[in-house]
Symmetry: C2
Subunit: 252 residues, 2 copies
C-alpha cells in the first residue's frame, strides 16, 4: 500500500486571504488536519487561520501538543509523541496536513516533526508548501519596502541585544527585528541615538485580524507589547560597496 | 466617483499553487491586469505565473515596459510612463492589478510605480498583497530550514563579494545569497575553504516549473548558471550570544 505524505501546510501569518492555493487545496483534500497547541485543549494560531477561511475544522482533526519551552528534552519528547500519533495514519495511506502559521521553513517546528516521523519510518514522504512569512505581511501592510535592488536584509531576533544590532547595522539596508518585546525600550533608545526612529515601524500580529501598526515607535516606550511583535527598520546610511553584477540574458 | 485602487498582486515565485487566495481573487475581480516586461512584446515572468493557473490573460491586459538597466534616469522615465498609462484607468474608477513575481515588498519595482502614481494623484489608494518570496519556495523544495528558534538570517546579493560574506558569516545561522551567477566559482571556493559545502544548496528558478536544485554545489564549478539563481547556506558554527527572551502569555 502507498503510504500517506506528511505535508507542511503553511497558512501564512494570519489573514485567511494569504493562504496559498496549494495549501487551500490540501486543507480540502481529505488529509488529516494536525495543528500545534501549547497545551492540551489550548488555542492554536494555525487552526485559527484555517478556520477564518469559513470552513469548519474536520471532526477528526488532531491536536499536537508542543509546550512553550526551550528545554530540549521536553521538546524532544513532544516531537516523539506527535510523531507516534501521526505515523500510523501515514502508514495507513492517508496524507497528514500539519497546519503551520507563516512559512514552514521559517521559525517553525515542522523540521523537527518531520525528522522524528522519518526516523520512525523512512519511507514516509514529506512535502513542504511554502507560505508568506509574517514580516512580508508586515511590509505589505505598512508599504515598507523590505528590499529594493541590491539591498541587504537581516532577520534577527532582537534578543541578541543592541551591541549585535550595532555590529550588523553598517551591513544592512533593512533590519527585521523579531520578538522585540523584551527589549522595546532599549531598541527605541537605540533607534533614536542613530536617527532611525523615522525609518522604523512596529507591527504586532502581522497579517492577523488584530494586526496593529505603530509608525511613531517612540510612543511605545514603557508599553508592554504583544509577544508576536516585530520591527522593520530601514537604514538609509549603509555605505555600499561595489556590486559585481551578472548579465541577465534578454527576455529569459 | 470612487477612484480605483492600485493593487500589488504578488504571485509568488512561479508555482501557480503558491498564489495566495487574495491575489487569486483580485485576478478574477475585473481589475485591469498590468504586467512588467523588459522590452515591448517581451516575456513577463509575472504574467507567466498568472497564466499557469489556467485562466487566460484578459484581452485588455496592459504591458508595462521596465528596461533591464541600473540607469536611474531611464528607469524614472519608465515608471513615469507606466504611471501615465494606469492613472486614467484608476481615475475612471477601475482597480488595477499590477502582477508581481514573488513578493511585492522584496526586490520588486512596485514601490517606485506606486510612488509615481501617487505623485500624479495622491487620492489613489494603494494596496499591497504579500506573496511567497523565492527563497522561501527554495527552502521548501529542498527541506532546508531557513530559521529555527532564535536563528539569524541574512539575505544578501552575492555581488557584494566574498569579503562581505566573511564579515557576515559569524553573525548568521543562514545566508541567503541572491544573484549568485557572476560569483559562482568564487562562492564555491569560499564555501569549501570554510567547510560549508555540505551546508549549501543551489536553487535556480525557485518555485517555477523549471526549478533546478543542486545539492552538491561543487559540481557547478565552471558552469554558467541562470540569472535567477540563489544559494542557501547554513552556518553550523555561529557562536551564539545570550538571548534575552520575552515571556509569551499562555495561550495568546
Amino acid at each position: 500500500m502507498q503510504k500517506g505524505k506528511l505535508i507542511a501546510t503553511s497558512l501564512g501569518p494570519g489573514d485567511a486571504g494569504l493562504i496559498t492555493r496549494k495549501a487551500w487545496a490540501v486543507m480540502q483534500s481529505g488529509a488529516l488536519w494536525c495543528y500545534p497547541v501549547r497545551r492540551k485543549g489550548g488555542k492554536s494560531h494555525a487552526l485559527g487561520i484555517a478556520e477564518r477561511t469559513g470552513i469548519d475544522m474536520p471532526a477528526d482533526a488532531l491536536e499536537l501538543v508542543f509546550p512553550m519551552t526551550h528545554d530540549s528534552e521536553v521538546l524532544a519528547r513532544a516531537w516523539a509523541r506527535a510523531a507516534d500519533k501521526i505515523v500510523p495514519v501515514l502508514q495507513a495511506g492517508r496524507d497528514v496536513a500539519f497546519l503551520v502559521e507563516g512559512d514552514a521553513s521559517t521559525f517553525s517546528t515542522f523540521t523537527y516533526l518531520a525528522r522524528y516521523v522519518q526516523n520512525i519510518d523512512a519511507d514516509i514522504g514529506v512535502e513542504i508548501i511554502a507560505g508568506v512569512p509574517s514580516y512580508n505581511a508586515a511590509a505589505a501592510s505598512t508599504a515598507f519596502p523590505l528590499a529594493e535592488t541590491d539591498d541587504t536584509v537581516a532577520i534577527v531576533p532582537a534578543g541578541y541585544g543592541l551591541d549585535e544590532l550595532d555590529a550588523l547595522l553598517p551591513h544592512f539596508d533593512t533590519l527585521i527585528l523579531m520578538k522585540v518585546k523584551p527589549l522595546m525600550d532599549g531598541i527605541i533608545d537605540w533607534l533614536e541615538a542613530r536617527n532611525l526612529l523615522i525609518d522604523a515601524v512596529f507591527v504586532e500580529k502581522a497579517g492577523a485580524p488584530e494586526e496593529r501598526i505603530v509608525r511613531d515607535v517612540a510612543l511605545l516606550k514603557g508599553e508592554k507589547v504583544n509577544y508576536l511583535s516585530l520591527m522593520l527598520v530601514r537604514n538609509p546610511n549603509r555605505k555600499r560597496g561595489e556590486v559585481i553584477r551578472g548579465c541577465k540574458k534578454k527576455d529569459t
